[in-house]
């Protein structure tokens, strides 16, 4: 037996003495879980606050599940009608309403802690989507979507879309007027799809809107299907993150082949636990002090009323704005008796389609125009990819303009403006704004890169002016330390793609030249303007320039002694 030989070779490990130690040993002897714990606890993660944005999303999802579990105990997804007998709120007493709405009132006013749980749940949903968006911005602007993480980027986009679906299905459950208005818009959007629209709407609502089926259907989607898929995809998202290792910010000694950071245990176990309690605490605080979605303000659903200031939750606001901006006249065509409602189809289907397609294809597009199939584990500083940063800001600009357009009535009342003027301004800005934002952002990035070059070559300005015997004045520059220099010179500035000539050596036209030419054009758009990183030769040249051309002998020593630093011009 091998055990016998081992026993002779090694000393027996010390027996655990504490209760926890004994329990762990008991478990380990039966499951060998120590191997997994050791492996995972020693796994190194790079450290940066922005890597915790995704964690905020994860933890708010945990809060969503906990509070959502509580809410399912009291919510009744039924569209049967009843008269509300409760005394609170007085404005609802005696009203005819669906059981779903009545149970929402009941859980808010009769169940102990019910309103708190409802509000925590809703705030968590808003923060879940907000942190997802901010996390995506971090990933996009630092280039964390590049190989090998394109798949995880797609998984992330699916998570965001599922988050939208979860929010939308949950929002509609209480069966109040406001969410009913939202469902009616959804119904209109579905019906605007050519040929199949009406049938799809009938399928969704089980007949003509609103019908008696939509709340129970949305309930099943909201508590079972959507969160189920969300959980599975979150698991995949995290698994891929661990498998591919986390990206790290550029800095001294960090390469695509290493990970510089701290071990998961105890550093990140502590940090994550802390972050979890922060997220939980902030969400509970918000739920306890700030009212959200007071459905009794809107009353039970009735297809006829719509109140001023009827808007969806913020993550759907861009769709609302898109619909509000679209001119209604002349955009609804009737062709052979079939209505083609472009006034709905374009803002509610085409525009979001373009936005989501951009997000999905971007990693592949950028890899193609860069001609890049290397693995990347060191992040980009946003300034070092001016075109990408510009496109990202342009995208956000379009998104924000649409969201603001969705709030145009509130902007009008709160800033004493004409809603008509606001709408026209946003119509123009939707097209002009992103282009302008792209141009300005790209220029700022290029400017920052040039500043970096300047710093690497000449050092920091010290503010010390030195006068030489011959009357010349110079300012003493402090050279960058190695860490500062590493950060500023270690990046790629790819050139536009070079392609094979149109004809081969014998003058025969080459197949695929046209496509190559188009890719090259796109590549020029990305990389025509670029600032290359400083090379070691350039640094050396700058140094020698400073030391030999202008300073000689005693002058140099005097400056050195006076400044305590070496001088560079």
């Amino acid at each position: 037996m091998s055990t016998a030989t081992q026993d002779t070779k090694h000393e027996a490990p010390a027996k655990p003495t504490t209760t926890v130690g004994k329990a762990a040993d008991y478990l380990d002897q039966r499951t060998s879980i120590g191997v997994a714990v050791k492996e995972f606890a020693r796994k190194v993660f790079p450290d940066h606050w922005s890597f915790m944005l995704g964690e905020i999303a994860l933890f708010s999802f945990v809060v969503l599940i906990i509070s959502g579990f509580f809410l399912t105990m009291f919510f009744e997804p039924s569209m049967a009608l009843e008269r509300y007998e409760g005394e609170h709120p007085a404005s609802m007493h005696g009203q005819l309403m669906s059981v779903a709405f009545a149970s929402t009132l009941d859980m808010s006013f009769e169940v102990r802690g019910g309103l708190l749980m409802r509000q925590i749940h809703h705030w968590s949903a808003l923060i879940f989507m907000a942190s997802i968006v901010v996390h995506m911005m971090r990933v996009f602007f630092t280039g964390a979507f590049r190989k090998p993480r394109e798949i995880n980027w797609i998984v992330g986009i699916l998570l965001m879309i599922l988050g939208l679906a979860a929010g939308f299905t949950g929002y509609s459950l209480p069966d109040d007027v406001l969410s009913g208005n939202g469902l009616r818009i959804t119904d209109g959007v579905v019906k605007s799809i050519p040929l199949v629209g009406s049938f799809m709407s009938y399928m969704i609502f089980g007949g003509e809107f609103p019908g008696h089926h939509i709340v129970p259907r949305l309930f099943t989607l909201h508590i079972f299907v959507v969160p189920g898929i969300l959980l599975a995809l979150i698991a995949l998202h995290l698994f891929l993150m661990v498998l591919q290792k986390h990206t790290q910010y550029p800095g001294g000694g960090r390469t695509d082949k290493n990970v510089v950071g701290y071990p998961a245990a105890p550093v990140y176990v502590a940090k994550m636990t802390g972050n979890f309690f922060m997220v939980f605490g902030v969400l509970v605080l918000m739920g306890a002090t700030m009212s959200i979605n007071n459905v009794w303000n809107y009353g039970p659903f009735d297809p006829s009323p719509v109140s001023a200031g009827a808007q969806p939750d913020w993550y759907m606001l861009f769709l609302e704005g898109s619909l509000r901006l679209m001119p209604g006249q002349g955009t609804e065509w009737v062709i052979f008796g079939y209505t083609l409602p472009l006034n709905v189809l374009i803002p509610a289907v085409v525009i979001p389609g373009i936005l989501f397609t951009f997000l999905i294809v971007y990693p592949f597009l950028e890899a193609r125009v860069t001609g890049d199939d290397r693995e990347h584990h060191v992040l980009d500083r946003p300034r070092n990819k001016p075109a990408r940063t510009g496109l990202g800001v342009a995208f956000l600009t379009a998104f924000i303009i649409l969201a603001l357009a969705g709030s145009n009535d509130l902007i009008a009342t709160h800033f004493a403006l004409s809603i008509n003027a606001i709408t026209w301004v946003f119509r123009v800005l939707f097209f002009v704004g992103p282009v302008f934002a792209y141009y300005v952002t790209k220029r700022i990035c290029l400017g920052l890169q040039r500043k970096d070059r300047e710093l690497v070559l000449h050092g920091h300005e010290s503010g010390r002016i030195v006068r030489f015997a011959n009357g010349e004045y110079i300012e003493v520059h402090t050279p960058l330390d190695e860490q500062e220099r590493w950060l500023r010179v270690n990046y790629d500035a790819p050139a536009p793609l070079t392609i094979a000539p149109k004809t081969d050596a014998r003058g025969v036209k080459r197949k695929g030249y046209g496509a190559d030419k188009r890719w090259q054009g796109l590549s020029r758009f990305f990389y025509e303007d670029r600032v290359s990183p400083v090379t070691p030769a350039e640094v050396a040249a700058a140094h020698s320039h400073g030391e030999h051309d202008e300073l000689t002998g005693s002058e140099h020593q005097a400056v050195e002694a006076g400044a305590g630093t070496s001088r560079e011009h």
């Binding site: 606050w49 009203q95 808010s108 109140s307 969705g406 509130l410 004409s418």
Partner: protein, 259 residues
């Protein structure tokens, strides 16, 4: 007193003093402020006073006999309720031309307003100023008021009367501060862009129900700060400003001890 004297140089002492001063001033004002006058009966003298006030302050636009001029409505037959609403909310006399006349501190006192109303009412029959009983929120049914409000009013004034936008810079004002009498008068007379809801359309009792519903909304939300009762846009704004703001702050804090 010794303990008090020892603390008089404390750096918070001025703040405490200021608070005390404010409380005293506020308390004295609340005790001594002029109380509301009782509605008096209309006399010929009132009408005469009203006519003089009208000719001095209103006739430039509305015409010497309130018959109206180009672009300015005649006031014959608008009734005392319309005048009381417009003048007691400060909308009239109008400060300047704009998308609509804005509410401002009223320019006339109670007696002057009553005189103006009496004068205009004498020109032709119109809706009278509602009695205190007609606008008493405690006698209304807020539940019925909710149903009426959301069918007739909420599309402009927001579901709980937080106000909303109309075209070309016009707006339906928020109703948090509007007095019960003014709410009733507005329904009765339809000022500016607002339609008239006459007594056949919404009965006096139903009008009182609406007043009752609106007054109930002023108690605030059971869920905490109402965030202006503006719905999802303000909720989203606060979710980012407070929620995400705090959480990103926490992330920066937790991640601070690093490279």
């Amino acid at each position: 007193m010794k303990a008090l004297a020892a603390r008089r140089h404390h750096r918070l002492a001025p703040v405490v003093l200021l608070l005390l001063a404010l409380l005293t001033t506020g308390g004295v004002y609340a005790a001594l402020a002029p109380s509301t006058a009782k509605a008096e009966t209309v006399s010929t003298a009132d009408i005469e006073t009203g006519k003089k006030l009208f000719q001095a302050n209103c006739a430039t636009c509305h015409g010497a006999n309130a018959q109206g001029t180009e672009g300015v409505p005649s006031l014959v037959g608008v009734g005392a309720a319309a005048v009381d609403f417009q003048v007691s909310t400060g909308r009239m006399p109008m400060q300047m031309n704009g998308p609509q006349a804005e509410a401002k501190p009223p320019q006339f006192d109670k007696e002057q307003t009553a005189a103006l109303s009496a004068y205009v009412a004498s020109l032709g029959a119109g809706p009278a100023i509602p009695t205190d009983e007609q606008v008493d929120p405690t006698q209304g049914d807020p539940s019925n008021g909710m149903a009426l409000f959301r069918t007739n009013c909420a599309m402009c004034h927001n579901a709980v009367g937080a106000g909303g936008a109309l075209s070309e810079g016009k707006f339906a004002p928020a109703l948090w501060e509007t007095s019960e009498r003014n709410i009733y008068q507005a329904m009765l007379t339809g000022p500016q862009s607002m339609p008239v809801f006459n007594d056949a359309n919404i009965t006096p009792d139903e009008k009182r129900d609406i007043v009752s519903f609106l007054v109930e909304q002023r108690e605030g939300s059971a869920g905490g700060n109402a965030l202006g009762a503006l719905g999802p846009v303000s909720e989203g704004l606060w979710a980012f400003a407070i929620g995400l703001g705090l959480l990103i702050g926490a992330a920066v804090w937790i991640g601070a001890k690093s490279s």
